[in-house]
Amino acid sequence: MAELRLVEPPRRAELRRAIRSRLVDLGLVLRTIAEDVLGADSSIDWVGLDPQGGVVLVLVADDTEDLALVARALAQRAWVAARLRDWKQLAPGLGLGPEAPVRVALLAPRFGAAAIAAARALGDPVAAIATYRCVRNGGEVEILLEPVYTETARGEPAVPTSSFRSGLCDADLSLTDEERADLG
């Protein structure tokens, strides 16, 4: 059997290719309409359309950029939102929805608590937050995506605080203050 090991991410193009093929693991069904787009002073890894015609920007960060990624997502979202009307006119066949919302999916090797809190505070515009790990399997590098947060479905009310690995949100837990205090 080939020896498998966690490895550093490959070069950007290879990393993008590997991640793109696994986005469906996060429940993101996207039609990519642009890749490596120069947006607000930096690159947007993908611009995708969800089945409802909404725009999803996928941003992939390096190891130490988790908090900066959240700020970058805000800037890129504003940059794209300002151009959507032009895009609709220039390319009506793209399938952009009439009031297409712009959401972001954030991927990084790890997210600190501050970055997660900041991203979740954005609420509706965040389609997914996920970590990626690179595993060398023989001659190939495979990517594992693990969701930190995923939106349950487009059009449903935003998750008020957070969702868990179970897919439930904080309100679903129905914990009393006493129980929360005892659990620490």
Partner: protein, 257 residues
């Protein structure tokens, strides 16, 4: 084609006309195959990998089991290919779309195993959203196994899941702590959960010990090969064997149904 037990029950027992009676008859005729429910969220690849590896280890101890899971969109990333797997561990994907259909599918698997003379354990992956408050008792939720890391969010989620399962008829709730940095950390997490459950739910949680999330767990996910077979001397495999032994002992004592 999935078999509905209702189609063949009349060969064995008199027809029961009402829906309520039919459900009663089905439960009464259900074979006594140990069943363990596993509330696992969509995309929870690490815990699914731990469960699959654990099932293989329990199989190694003579209790070859079946994992029954709904064939939802995420199945491809959660589980290996369906069918017979290592050491007789079988993965059965069902088209169940709610808890009731999952209960029926579980019963079908139990009946098939019983007909084939197989013992072992049925592991049932339950989407947490299907465990609803006040939805009535779900037969496969009698014995539940929960996994939590020491992360405070995971601990809260685990406790809330225990609370839901108890409300839905859960009788015994087992907890495995994974991803802990030390035995003492895992022990502290379980103690905190157990104290809270005793105080607020009036239930005693059962500890199934500690699993180690080392590199081999991720290797297992990617390679779809059980850790216990490919890296038997790794810390992850040793921890899996310990937990598997406790589960196997519970099966032998008839404590899991």
């Amino acid at each position: 084609m999935a078999r509905s037990l209702a189609d063949v029950l009349h060969y064995f027992i008199p027809e029961v006309p009402s829906a309520e009676g039919d459900a009663f008859a089905r439960r009464a005729a259900a074979p006594a195959v140990p069943t363990l429910a596993l509330p696992l969220g969509d995309g929870d690849v690490v815990r699914a990998a731990l469960v699959w590896n654990l099932a293989v280890e329990v199989s190694r101890l003579g209790h070859a089991g079946s994992i029954v899971a709904p064939a939802l969109e995420d199945s491809a990333s959660l589980w290996p290919d369906p069918g017979a797997g290592p050491l007789g561990t079988e993965l059965v994907l069902t088209f169940a779309e709610d808890a009731e259909e999952l209960a029926t599918a579980t019963l079908d698997v139990a009946t098939t195993r019983s007909d084939d003379g197989a013992s072992g354990l049925i592991w049932v992956r339950v989407p947490p959203a299907w465990i609803e408050k006040g939805a009535g008792a779900l037969p496969f939720l009698e014995h539940v196994l929960l996994l939590t890391s020491p992360d405070p969010r995971d601990v809260r989620e685990c406790y809330a899941m225990a609370k839901r399962c108890i409300a839905a008829g859960g009788r015994t709730i087992g907890v495995i702590v994974h991803g802990a940095r030390s035995v003492s950390e895992a022990s502290e997490v379980f103690s905190r959960l157990a104290r809270t459950a005793e105080r607020h739910l009036g239930r005693t949680l059962r500890s199934y010990g500690l699993l180690v999330d080392d590199l081999h767990v991720y290797r297992s996910i990617v390679s779809r090969r059980p850790i216990g077979l490919t890296h038997p001397h790794s810390p992850a495999a040793k921890a899996l064997r310990d937990v598997a032994r406790w589960i196997a002992e519970d099966i032998s004592r008839g404590e899991l149904g």
